[in-house]
């Protein structure tokens, strides 16, 4: 530790050309693009494994060959991390980014706290599970569906014996299935809407296992003394209240883009419902309104892993272009191909509203 002349503390400083914050699919793909082009690249992640959300996904993934489709999530995570490292990027795990200042410097905590300066920063910090308060929500046994998934698939621990899930989107359906795989009972899935939110194929998978999906049911409260003992839900059709006996309640009610660092850096934040909430404004190439700051993946709008990969690649290419490491011609070619792929990925009924939101962002949302 160096103390300056006036006895002021100075943190160690380091510099690098491109930094990706987050080693999920978006950050790894952005870093791979940059490193493969010969640019000095560092990836920072607070986790002890690379791959972001993918490390806990044991199911096979949608997408096409470029996204590792048909393979299991953790398998894709391993491959992306390997590709990224092979391209020459340095992946620093257990490194948490604590701050991103208006002068463009990052405050990082690894073995010690240091300041990292980079010409280009790709924010690929993913998303957080949405939660909401209700009576009993602080009891042990109430958790996010993703947290339950981490427990069973990463740590090999069952959160309980009998679970109720809230939300029938893809995450709720997939996690319900994985709790069954791990040996838990799933009492049911509550859905406030009148139809299942996730894909039919995922719905069918859980229904085959005998899991009931209660449509038009609203979670009211959780009862219990030391932990969850029962879940109360209101049947919105009949107006009656049901009590389910369970010791675990998993919330799968959506994800919120995690973009605090962008906000701290002074990036303009916009609220886009279709993309999960507040995100840093970005153009069609994943540039934010601050020079040298890019965003990709769930932090730029909650979507899917395949989209996170291609957005990461796009951010990488845009950064390379701005750094002068790629000719405008080559950059244009690569960007066109990636945008074509992203359009295809957002082509279905579920993806179209997100595609339109992204278009609106790229087109006119720029000036307040």
């Amino acid at each position: 530790m160096d103390t300056g002349q006036e006895g002021r503390m100075r943190l160690p400083e380091e510099s690098c050309t491109l930094v990706a914050v987050g080693a999920g699919p978006a950050g790894l793909c952005a870093a791979r693009e940059a490193a493969a082009c010969g640019v000095r690249t560092t990836v920072l992640d607070e986790n002890d494994k690379g791959g972001g959300q993918l490390i806990k996904q044991i199911h096979r993934f949608f997408g096409s060959r470029e996204h590792g489709a048909g393979k299991r999530g953790f398998e894709i995570a391993l491959e992306l991390a390997e590709d990224c490292a092979n391209a020459g990027a340095e992946i620093r795990l257990n490194h948490r980014v604590l701050g991103f200042f208006e002068d463009g410097r990052l405050l990082v905590e690894g073995d010690f706290i240091y300041v990292l300066e980079a010409k280009a920063v790709v924010l690929a910090t993913g998303a957080l599970e949405r939660s909401f308060p209700f009576p009993g929500w602080t009891l042990p046994g109430v958790m996010g569906a993703g947290a339950a998934q981490t427990l069973v698939n990463v740590h090999g621990v069952l959160p309980g014996k009998r679970a109720v899930l809230v939300g029938s989107g893809n995450v709720g359906l997939i996690v319900a299935y994985q709790l069954l795989q791990a040996g838990m009972e799933v009492v049911g899935i509550l859905e406030v809407e009148d139809r299942v939110g996730g894909y039919e194929v995922h719905e069918s998978r859980v229904r085959r296992e005998g899991v009931p999906i209660y449509l038009r049911h609203r979670l009211l409260a959780v009862e219990g003394l030391e932990g969850v003992e029962a879940v109360l839900a209101k049947d919105l059709e009949k107006g009656t209240v049901k009590r389910f006996h369970a010791d675990t309640l998993c919330l799968a009610v959506g994800m919120i883009p995690q973009a605090e660092l962008a906000s701290m850096r002074g990036c303009r934040m916009v609220f886009v419902r279709e993309l999960g909430g507040f995100i840093p404004w970005h153009d069609g190439d994943m540039r934010t309104d601050r020079p040298g700051v890019y965003v990709a993946g769930d932090a730029a709008g909650v979507e899917e892993a395949s989209i996170a990969m291609d957005e990461g690649r796009l951010a990488g290419v845009a950064a390379l272009e701005d750094l002068g490491a790629l000719s405008p011609n080559e950059a244009r070619k690569r960007k066109e191909e990636l945008k074509r792929r992203l359009n295809l990925l957002r082509g279905g009924a579920a993806g179209r509203p997100r595609a339109m939101a992204k278009e609106r962002l790229a087109a006119g949302w720029r000036h307040r």
Partner: protein, 254 residues
Amino acid sequence: MKGDWEKVWEEARERPVALVDCRQEIPCNPCEEACRKGAIRVGEDLCSAPVYDPGRCDGCGRCVALCPGMAIFLLDRRGGDGQAEVTVPWEMCGEIVEGERIWAVDGKGKVLTEGKVVKIKWMGGRWPTRLVTIRIPEERALKVRGVRFRENSVGSSEEVDQEYDLPEDYPVCRCEDVSREEVLKFLKMGLRSLTALRRSSRVGLGYCQGIYCQEQLRKELGMVTRRSEEETGMFKVRPPVRPVKLGRLGGVNG
């Protein structure tokens, strides 16, 4: 689709053939990649539903193992004895052995019939899937989408008092233990911004940095101010975004 299944039904007299039950627009094509016979096509538009030609399928089962939606099955009626063999992908951890009796269920989870496990095969890359083949009366075969050991679902609930009163004193901010009642009280006093709420009630000032309560507060504020989420804005973000020991910031390791 109906016509497709008639064709599957016919072809299955000669050899096992795939039955593809995927009709939604999902960005996905591993089935096409899996098939070496060109029997399944998704094409350039990744979100279009797969187009399947049972005439080209040789029943290899690769697509059954690799389909992320677990939406492909095999049908085999070669026996010609009124029984059919149906193969489904199975990803449960438990034991399953040949000879065992198991329930065959449809896509809604309804039990169709009981069958006998006649074959188990691992397929599909480094982390394979079990393909379980069961023998059942053939008139049910086209409907089978899965197998399970339990006949009934575990879901059960009881009706409780219709006039269930929800308490209002539950915490909105779990870190600083601020209840919904308190937040409503501050709103009644005329506070109209996230910052004001944060300063006066300490909501959002805890360990989680307002990650959990922020959306709820924005909603409550929006209801009284009629302002949109974007107008209400976010909590001002200050470093550190993750809790950190002061000593470490001061240069002490550990």
